[in-house]
């Protein structure tokens, strides 16, 4: 089911198995038949850990979504609430429990808090007078969820907002906890590097937690050589740019959620011969996207311009394989062919899906609007006219393009100019408020607090220096056969990944000046390993680095890291962890005040 998790350099299936084991243990604690009442938000992340079949094996017979009122009737012994520790959910649970008691109260109640139990929530249940009704109150620590063979996500959407706007460091605490769990399974990570305030906090917490467990030495041979902690606000630019890898574009255009994407159904209608296409499906087509699908693993990280060629190559291979049947003469040969059919058909259907997706995306990437937008982004990233009001942005506002699109561009201009000139800043602000509504003063203030959109405070713009030193813009990015990470944005090399790359070689000492221009401290820590656990490295053996993005990471950045892992002479393999997979749109949305109020 999750074999793709174990293909990578680090077997992340261990983490998944650990999570499944804990889940089973909890379920068995409530003996007898059960119904689970889900906090709907959790079903996505849980889907990455377990399927219904696992729950069924442990006598889960019914599942419901948590909502107020009376619980649906179900002939089970146990009712288990799987919830995030949030007060409003406690109120709903209390309501559920109350209305139950009036009926017939033979059912037993349990709560499983994900990822942590909370005193305040239990307090709330107590005030509502239902705390005593629960046989089990437990927590299910789901900090880092294995997302793919080289990718872990906390699926913690509001982490950036909480850290940088509200200065709420709860997400950092969970991060540190998650890293401790990871070290318990994969060994102590000897070297820790970091850049940014949040990175510093996380490292501090990890070191302290380790001291607290000083009694018990971890006897596992370390799998990771290095941990790199990066604050998202060290690189505010990258998520604002439109991702140009296949997976990145799928996310930009349709949004990938917990590993699934919903696509317009028209292109996926299965037309059988002789059958009129009378009932086209109207519900979106939902597809799971991960490296378990061979073709997807092959093309996901390519620049979209190279996807067409890859698909047609694949098509030829598959066609040829099917043609083989003509050569099958003997019974044995035919048998052989037939035995391969299921695999070939899976490949065929995968090819069909991705050809359709590529067509959908191509319609958009070849549009004038996409081209114009990208042109402006590239102007900003190369430092062209970032100190003036941009005509394209002005026109977009005049034709009421979606506010988030405008904000992405304006923020990008601000970041590339180290803050906008006061006059330019005021102008944009007025145009935005007049066109989209004055209440967006609040959103603009949030963006200012987060550092994404601000007036220039010093007259010196250090972005050009950063760009040149880190080679953030590469003249001739090769999209088909890339030789540099800049291919993921067709020219722009993501700052965050450059920092990662330089750290591996030649080391951060070579870029001290630039590091000082970026916000927050940079640091290095070492964790002592017990004697005997020091790795004896084979000649030519790669080192493994875990890169943790605090506040989110984009698919294009992940693609760039995978590219570095695959480079023959890099000598480094990367595993990626993050609070949440983001893109410019979801990111800006998380910073808006009441985004649902925005005018369409």
């Amino acid at each position: 089911m999750a074999a793709h998790l174990s293909y990578g350099r680090v077997n992340l299936n261990i983490l998944r198995e650990a999570a499944r084991k804990e889940l089973r243990e909890f379920l068995d604690k409530c003996s007898g038949s059960k119904a689970i009442v889900w906090d709907e938000y959790l079903t996505g992340p849980f889907g990455l850990i377990a399927q219904y079949s696992l729950l069924k094996e442990h006598e889960v017979e019914k599942m419901f979504t948590l909502k107020s009122g009376r619980l649906p009737s179900a002939d089970v012994k146990n009712i288990i609430f799987f919830v995030r520790p949030r007060l409003e959910l406690m109120d709903i649970i209390a309501e559920n429990v109350f209305s139950e008691d009036k009926l017939h109260s033979s059912r037993e109640f349990h709560i499983l808090f994900v990822p942590r139990r909370s005193m305040l929530c239990e307090q709330r249940l107590k005030e509502q007078g239902v705390l005593g009704s629960f046989i089990n109150i437990d927590e299910y620590i789901l900090d880092l969820i294995p997302y793919d063979g080289d990718l872990l996500s906390m699926e913690y959407e509001s982490a950036f907002r909480e850290c940088y706007l509200e200065n709420d460091q709860t997400s950092l605490y969970h991060t540190a906890k998650g890293l401790m769990t990871l070290q318990a399974l994969y060994g102590t990570i000897p070297q820790i590097y970091g850049k940014g305030e949040c990175a510093r906090h996380v490292a501090n917490m990890m070191l302290r937690m380790k001291r607290e467990f000083a009694g018990s030495q971890n006897q596992i041979l370390p799998v990771f050589d290095t941990l790199l902690l990066l604050d998202r606000n060290v690189d505010l630019l990258t998520p604002l740019a439109t991702q140009l890898t296949y997976e990145g574009l799928i996310d930009e255009i349709y949004g990938i959620n917990n590993g699934y994407v919903k696509l317009p159904p028209e292109k996926f209608a299965q037309k059988k011969q002789g059958e009129a296409s009378k009932d086209l499906p109207t519900e979106p087509k939902k597809l799971q996207l991960n490296s378990a699908e061979e073709l997807y693993a092959e093309i996901r990280d390519k620049n979209f311009n190279a996807v067409g060629a890859a698909l047609s190559k694949k098509a030829k291979i598959i066609s040829a394989a099917f043609e083989e049947r003509h050569n099958a003469k003997t019974v044995g040969e035919i048998k052989q062919f037939v035995s391969q059919l299921p695999h070939m058909q899976a490949a065929r259907s995968s090819l069909a899906n991705h050809t359709s997706i590529a067509e959908l995306i191509k319609d958009i990437t070849t549009s004038e609007a996409f081209f114009d937008n990208l042109t402006v982004e590239q102007e900003f990233m190369t430092g062209v006219d970032t100190d003036k009001v941009n005509t394209y942005i002005e026109d977009c506002i005049a034709q009421k393009d979606p506010l988030i699109k405008i904000l992405r561009l304006v923020c990008m201009q601000s970041v590339c100019n180290n803050g906008l000139k006061q006059k330019v800043f005021d102008y944009y602000k007025r145009e935005i408020l007049q066109t989209y509504g004055y209440e967006h003063i609040l959103t603009l203030n949030n963006l200012e607090k987060g550092g994404l959109l601000k007036p220039q405070t010093s007259s010196r713009n250090n972005y050009p220096t950063i760009r040149k030193t880190l080679k953030l813009w590469m003249e001739d990015a090769n999209e088909q056969n890339p030789n540099d990470i800049s291919y993921v944005y067709s020219g722009y090399a993501p700052l965050s990944i450059r920092l990662t790359q330089v750290l591996a070689r030649p080391g951060w000492r070579s870029i001290e000046e630039v590091l000082k221009m970026l916000p927050g401290p940079h640091f290095e820590e070492r964790q002592q390993l017990p004697a005997g656990l020091h790795k004896k490295r084979q000649q030519g053996e790669n080192r493994t680095t875990l890169v943790f993005f605090l506040g989110g990471v984009t698919y294009a950045e992940i693609a760039a890291l995978r590219f570095l892992s695959q480079m023959e002479d890099s000598g480094m393999e990367y595993i990626i962890a993050t609070t949440k997979l983001i893109n410019g749109t979801t990111w800006i949305k998380s910073l808006m005040d009441r985004p649902e109020c925005q005018t369409p």
């Binding site: 219904y52 089990n136 997400s171 939902k286 067409g308 050809t355 191509k362 102007e379 005509t391």
Partner: protein, 490 residues
């Protein structure tokens, strides 16, 4: 204004900038086609056993059968299957389910409790002496959790709280102990614990002392602010911010309240009360505008609703209003005024000119909005006048604050007829852009004239092949080609 076209071209040609294009477009398209064809041909081949072709079983909605979110629907539906179609199991969606917008477990999401009758507050319930802040460990037998009164140090207490174990904060009586407790919770970075301690301090310390101590503890301070925000303890929050001298925050926080006021008159009055708040100078102007706008919208809405009901005003009969203008953005309001109140004198609230002046709308914004509104009404005379009205020196040449290609764009979106479009396409400065627009909108005259002006005989010859045989256009091209006075460049 748009970057002038030649410039832009230079920029592209010289350019290091690579835009995102398929460098070999046709080829690329054909490749996709190719793989699609391959897919289709294969499909035919294996049609017979096509039913089970997916690796994973997928339900009708596309989710793999067996995934949790699918099963939630499935098992829930089996419960109430009688009243719905068996094929599409879905849980009853009558009652809104919990919002999915915020993820995770954090302060920002902890306090959104539904307030029960009266205003619920932690402080109230906690001040009840019988209530203690503790969490029973339900895994253990009951007898064991009596030890929560044990004598833990502040550090140990914080540690136990982090692990979700039973603690009592009541025994920390001295200010020094309380502050130690707070400092340890801060260094633990666990928002849950910090907040729990803050609630205890809020209850047991005087405001003055609490505020003073928080000032030197920024992390705790923000958590406290957040806690007060989420529990809607507006009064204490404002007091706190005032004590800290954070005036702009106070202003924004107050202002934010207007979003939860549905009644327009109450909202207007509330906005009015915001005017005296200590915003930054720029924001202050915006809030003033916000108030003025809503005030006006209320007046316009009342008048127009009446006019519409009265049935005497033609425009409302011909184009009934689709929605109320209340709470719409300024530019939308301007559009509305240009649509329904275009000719009004500058003295009325709903006159576009008055709106423009009051809110200092930029020339370009005004122009675009008026143009779109009049074009929508197909009032081509008004459209025309927009360009010539500024012609006070007697020139007849049309002028526009935005590029004519944008004008064409706006007109075309409002389905202007070719004759109208032609006029404006002809005014596009850049020859190449003009030709491409003219081709798009089939303005033959403009194309022909442009090629003539460029003395481009070849292009003109080529274009002859595209116009209808024996048409006026063909004759015109022939005349030009035969004209000996033109010195063709090719």
């Amino acid at each position: 204004m748009m970057k002038s076209k030649p410039d832009e071209e230079d920029y592209w040609n010289s350019s290091k900038f690579k835009a995102f294009t398929f460098d070999d477009e046709d080829d690329e398209f054909s490749r996709l086609k190719e793989s699609k064809q391959a897919v289709n041909s294969i499909r035919r081949l294996v049609e017979e056993d096509d039913d089970e072709d997916d690796v994973e079983k997928v339900s009708w909605s596309g989710e793999p059968v067996g995934s949790i979110s699918w099963s939630v629907r499935e098992t829930a539906a089996s419960n109430q299957r009688t009243d719905r179609e068996p094929a599409f199991p879905k849980i009853n969606a009558d009652t809104p389910t919990v919002s999915r917008s915020h993820s995770g477990y954090s302060l920002s999401s902890l306090f959104k409790g539904k307030t029960k009758t009266g205003s619920f507050q932690f402080s109230d319930s906690l001040s009840d002496s019988s209530v203690r802040l503790y969490a029973p460990e339900l895994r253990k037998p009951k007898s064991e959790y009596k030890d929560y009164v044990s004598d833990w140090s502040p550090e140990e207490t914080v540690h136990r709280m982090q692990q979700g174990k039973a603690v009592s904060l009541e025994k920390f009586r001295s200010l020094q102990d309380k502050l130690l407790l707070l400092d340890f919770s801060i260094s633990a970075h666990d928002g849950n614990v910090i907040t729990a301690v803050l609630i205890y301090l809020k209850r047991t310390l005087s405001k003055e002392v609490l505020f003073r101590e928080l000032e030197s503890r920024q992390t705790a301070l923000r958590h406290f602010i957040h806690y007060l925000t989420e529990t809607r303890d507006q009064r204490l929050l404002l007091e706190l911010l005032r004590a800290l001298g954070r005036t702009e925050d106070i202003a924004l926080l107050q202002y934010k309240e207007h979003l939860s006021i549905a009644d327009e008159n109450k909202r207007r009055d509330f906005l009015k009360s915001c005017l005296s708040l200590p915003f930054s100078p720029e924001d202050s102007a915006h809030v003033q505008d916000h108030y003025t706008l809503l005030e006006r919208q209320i007046i316009i809405e009342a008048t127009d609703r009446q006019a519409e009901r009265g049935g005497k005003v033609e425009i409302f009969q011909k184009f009934p209003r689709r929605a109320s203008i209340l709470n719409m953005p300024l530019i939308t309001t301007l559009y509305y005024c240009c649509f329904y109140h275009y000719t009004e004198s500058e003295g009325t609230y709903s006159s576009p000119l008055n709106v423009r002046q009051t809110f200092r709308i930029s020339e370009k914004q005004f122009f675009v909005t008026a143009l779109a509104a009049r074009a929508k009404l197909k009032a081509w005379v008004d459209v025309d006048a927009l360009f010539t009205s500024r012609n006070w020196l007697g020139f007849t040449r049309k002028k526009s604050p935005l590029g004519f290609h944008r004008v064409v764009d706006i007109l075309q979106k409002n389905s202007a007829p070719t004759q109208v479009l032609q006029e404006y396409v002809g005014l596009v400065d850049d020859a190449e852009l003009r030709i491409s627009l003219a081709q798009k909108h089939k303005c033959h005259d403009i194309i022909i004239n442009t090629y003539r002006d460029l003395k481009d005989r070849q292009q003109l010859l080529g274009y002859r092949g595209k116009v209808e045989r024996g048409s006026v256009e063909e004759r015109k091209i022939n005349e030009l080609l035969d004209n000996p006075q033109i010195r063709w460049k090719n």
